[in-house]
Subunit: 112 residues, 2 copies
DNA sequence: CTTGGTAGTTCAGAGTTTCGGAACTAATGT
DNA sequence: ACATTAGTTCCGAAACTCTGAACTACCAAG
């Protein structure tokens, strides 16, 4: 039996939790990728965008933190996980927040 | 001898550090207050805006984290510290970021 | 059905970070 | 000189994070 993934309502997520989820260099990179991507990304695919390889148990924890902060939705599709951004929902509650963060991250990358 | 406070150039502050600094309920409350205030606020004054009293050693650490993330500037004036927001500098590097976060925090407060 | 591989999760211990009381410093007032 | 106020530093306890090893879930081939 597939155990259910936790996906809080955005109303139940405090801003601090969103900022905390994105306050890690790996997680902000992973989320930016999902944010810009139109079709869902699997975890393995995602880990390729990171500048350094990380263990899969660590990746799994990072994905859980992003999920529990209401930032992404994860659905099991066969053997892999399809991750999509919950951008629209977060935007409805906290307008401009994710865009500002993702843009800031992009600006930071430019200067490297 | 007054020991010097650390104030990094915004260029040297990664977005993650800013998000980390604001990912704590006390720090985001403190920063929002400084952000909205025109004249500098002392630490004691600031701690009054928190919903619960916190020890002053903890407050001191929180202020240091905000300073080292480039979010505020602290100047000793006699016995107390004058804290001001470095909003303009951060805005120049990461447009819209602080406003989006502070607004999101305000929205969250509304719903309480 | 069984074996094998792939994608991701859970567990538990080591390592790191944060919290907060007590002792400290620095400036000012009496 | 002594007391007071505002903030910092130190350091041990508590809370969090990382990651290897073992595990689950699904799918495909034999």
């Amino acid at each position: 039996m597939t155990k259910p993934l936790v996906h809080p309502a955005i109303e139940d997520v405090p801003v601090e939790a969103i900022l905390h989820a994105l306050s890690d260099r790996h997680r902000v990179a992973l989320f930016s990728q999902i944010f810009h991507q139109d079709n869902p990304s699997s975890c393995v695919t995602l880990s390729c965008v990171l500048d350094q390889a990380i263990p899969k148990s660590t990746l799994s924890q990072h994905m859980r933190i992003l999920r529990e902060a209401g930032l992404i939705r994860g659905e099991r599709r066969g053997v892999e996980m399809r991750n999509t951004s919950r951008h629209a929902e977060v935007e409805a509650r906290y307008p401009g927040l994710l865009k500002a963060i993702v843009s800031a991250y992009a600006i930071q990358l430019e200067g490297k």
